[in-house]
């Protein structure tokens, strides 16, 4: 039994200390640089160096802090300048020149150079905040609230914003309280399937076994998904606190974070966070001076996509081949080392401290009754604002794409949106008013999945898209069960044929039937969801399939076997020969009349000439079906 307020008292001391420390740091100017993986890719490291150089050369006393994902990846590299007397201001598209200017005018001088700012981070009278943008109206940051705003390398930054207070609160109550709160909040798993976390935890808690495990699934193998990585890199203690709370609720003493080895920064940040938490007695034995002990360890995954599947993940942790098992038994009965195990996604755990602190009622106030809370998406593809967004469940796809993502770039016409990664579905315009929640998306044939969201336009071929995703899942199939091992192979072969114009109505029928059987007959969810992109494109974009097989035409001009490159004589200029040099196979020749033309036998369809042709001519076009128009002047090479 836990003594009355010992954890609370211990926490209070810790909190005061952290707050003082953080406040004293805030008395001088600070530059926060987004150095999550995507920031680094955009050159955040150089930006940081520029800041250091500029600041040093002026002898300024400024602290430079690395933070995680700020969420506006389209404008990377990003930094926030927080100078006493001003609201913190976020700047994007940074380069050496801009850094020079900001240091000179804002940090050394007193001009925040608002013309270069994206937004302020606190309400003020001078400059709008992110919430004032259309995007901000729809966005609701809950688990991303502090991503990119906090120094992930210091536990004090987390504690000073009341981090670990949920743990202190929970420890002064019975474990059952945590469970009841999570159950009442109707928190559903964010790893894709939306299974109620409370139900899982309760089953584990009720087990009489005294050896139990809590595991965080951070395998995140979907191509294009990076939100779990962002949270681990940017706010690691939030996830740790969620796991500790879970362990307290179910009675586990050991936990693991299964992080894919391709995420070295996430591993590094989490490991550092674990060490710091141990030092503060927030992890390890007698946490916050109570009788509760729990420790955490990082397990680095091998990287295979299937290892994200719950039973395969456990097998891989036990040193066996990462292959799924049939369930039941469920992991909460027979998990890691045969012991009751709770496995949840990174985001699922991240909600827990907030639910414990703010209450189930608060949580249910966001989102829909059956899918409370928020959804995190990474927006990519033909959309203006790419990046990580968090919106309340129930937001429609239209709002997400048009308002939060600021729509498609000029001249692009919406065709489809692919949600949920390779196991998700492709939805058309007519489905855009579907609210985003676990059940509505499922009904529409897509899934929440990993939260990948790709916007596609007229230049995307739906058959090629389906083929692309299926190629991924087929490649990642573990090969254990018949439907997935052989079914996805035949599906892929059929799709490949269609992209070459092969097939008839029966082929489409077979593809549909086989897809349904793979969905219904496979052993694990990889096979059961792999057909989603195929089934949804067959349903919503049937005409596009038909055009391929009946007319040998790819409407989006993507499928190589169904297009040819052609130089339109009226547009081509005799004064120009740019395309000639761009062609790797010397396929372009000069006709008798001095215009250029393509020798189809030599052309390998590399697209170079089309890109090279100057915009004022734009003479190179793609034709589908691949039939040359009749022409007067040809000849000559």
């Amino acid at each position: 039994m836990v003594t009355a307020n010992k954890p609370q008292d211990n926490y209070k001391k810790m909190f005061e200390q952290a707050r003082e420390q953080v406040q004293s740091r805030q008395e001088k100017s600070r530059v926060l640089i987004g150095t999550a993986s995507c920031g680094l890719a955009a050159g955040a490291e150089q930006v940081k160096e520029s800041f250091c150089r500029e600041i040093e050369s002026r002898g300024l006393d400024v602290e430079i802090i690395e933070v995680g994902c700020i969420g506006h990846c389209y404008a990377e590299p990003l930094a926030i300048i927080d100078k006493p007397g001003f609201p913190p201001v976020c700047y994007g598209y940074l380069d050496e020149g801009l850094v020079h200017r900001l240091v000179e005018d804002f940090i050394a001088g007193d001009d925040p150079s608002y013309e270069y700012a994206l937004a302020a981070l606190e309400r003020n009278d001078e400059f709008p905040t992110f919430e004032d943008f259309p995007r901000g109206v729809y966005e609701k940051k809950v688990i991303l609230e502090n991503c990119g705003l906090t120094d992930f390398s210091k536990i004090e930054s987390y504690i000073a914003r009341e981090g670990y207070s949920a743990l202190a609160k929970a420890l002064s109550e019975e474990p059952k309280q945590v469970l009841e709160e999570v159950k009442a909040a109707r928190l559903r798993g964010r790893g894709g399937a939306g299974f109620p976390a409370g139900t899982k935890w309760e089953a584990c808690m009720n087990s009489s076994d005294d050896e139990k495990y809590v595991i965080c699934n951070a395998d995140e193998g979907d191509p294009g998904a990076f939100m779990d990585r962002s949270i681990l890199e940017s706010d690691p203690h939030l996830v740790l606190e969620g796991m500790i709370l879970c362990a307290y609720a179910v009675g586990a003493r050991q936990g693991y974070l299964y992080i894919r080895a391709e995420y070295p920064r996430a591993v590094e940040h989490i490991q550092k966070a674990i060490e710091e938490a141990r030092k503060k007695q927030l992890l390890g034995s007698s946490i916050l001076g109570t009788g509760f002990s729990f420790d955490l360890q990082v397990f680095q995954g091998s990287g295979a996509f299937i290892c994200g599947e719950a039973t395969a993940l456990v097998n891989s942790m036990e040193g066996k081949m990462g292959m799924p098992e049939s369930r039941p038994p469920r992991l909460v009965e027979h998990g890691f080392r045969g012991k009751p195990t709770v496995l949840n996604n990174v985001k699922t755990f991240a909600y827990v401290p907030l639910i414990v602190n703010r209450g189930a009622k608060w949580f249910k106030g966001i989102g829909t009754p059956d899918s409370p809370g928020t959804a995190v998406f990474s927006l990519v593809g033909k959309i203006n604002n790419t990046g990580l967004v968090e919106v309340p469940m129930g937001t429609t796809l239209r709002q997400l794409i048009e308002e939060v993502g600021d729509g498609l770039p000029e001249g692009r016409e919406f065709k489809a949106v692919q949600i949920g990664g390779p196991s998700g579905g492709c939805l058309p315009e007519s489905a855009l008013d579907v609210p985003i929640d676990f059940d509505s998306l499922h009904e529409a044939g897509a899934i929440m999945g990993s939260g990948g969201l790709v916007v596609m336009d007229q230049d995307d071929c739906m058959v090629a898209v389906a083929r692309y995703f299926l190629e991924f899942t087929q490649h990642e199939s573990c090969g254990k069960c018949t439907f997935c091992r052989l079914g996805t192979k035949h599906m892929l072969d059929i799709l490949t044929g269609i992209t070459r114009g092969q097939g008839d109505d029966q082929t489409l029928q077979l593809l549909k039937e086989l897809s349904e059987d793979v969905r219904d007959g496979s052993l694990c969810n990889l096979g059961c969801t792999a057909p989603n992109p195929v089934l949804t494109t067959l349903k919503y974009f049937h005409d596009e399939y038909k055009a391929h097989i009946e007319e040998g035409r790819c409407p989006a001009l993507v499928c190589r076997d169904l297009i040819l490159y052609y130089i339109e004589p009226p547009k081509c200029s005799k004064l120009c020969n740019v395309c000639v040099g761009s062609c790797p196979t010397e396929a372009i020749y000069t006709r008798d009349d001095g215009l250029k033309a393509i020798d189809q036998d030599k052309c390998v369809k590399c697209d170079n000439c089309r890109k090279a042709c100057p915009p004022e001519y734009n003479a190179v076009i793609k034709l589908s079906p691949p039939v040359l128009p009749a022409e007067k002047e040809r000849k000559a090479k």
Binding site: S326, Q474, F483
Partner: protein, 218 residues
Amino acid sequence: MSEHVNITIDDREIKVRPGEKLLWAALENDIYIPHLCAIKEESRPNASCRLCFVEIDGIDYPVAACTRQVEEGMVVKTRSTKVDRLVKTAFELLLSDHNLKCSECPANRNCALQRIAKERGLKLKHNRFKPIGREFELDDSPAEFAFDRSRCVLCGQCIWADRVGAEAWIFGFANRGIDRVVTTFNNLPLAELKCNECTLCVDACPVGALYYKREQKV
């Protein structure tokens, strides 16, 4: 716990051992359900061949019988439109990756695939799926038997016999996805490994992949 549970399969009421998997409960009562990968003694089912689907009252999708424990009052149907469709597809998928030449095969007339075809009115030869046509090398290095992977259905029976029966650990699965195979350590010929030719694996093989040379046809 009571001594037995009562279940109904295809309108027949039977008494079966508590904890028993549905597949074995049916088979032991002479009710046939197609199966290749199930191992009675193994508590955790392979559940990989996907042939043993049945319908259980109250569950609106077909369930693999080798994965479900019997429960008092369970009502089961071994056939339905959905079951037949899944079994047909699984069967045809397996055969699309199978070197089908029964007349030359040592397992002819004693083959689990032929049995399934007969029981369920399915054709061994079909043209719904193009043959995948993987190429394998024959391993006829042991004195008594040989291993022709082109007939292997990846059921895992030989691996179980080899590990649990013979404790030899000669066989194992290798590779992922479509390349999955049963293989030996380093893919070495059986004769070069510590295989003592107990032939338990040969007896376990439900098809003509592991066979006695004396039964060879050509």
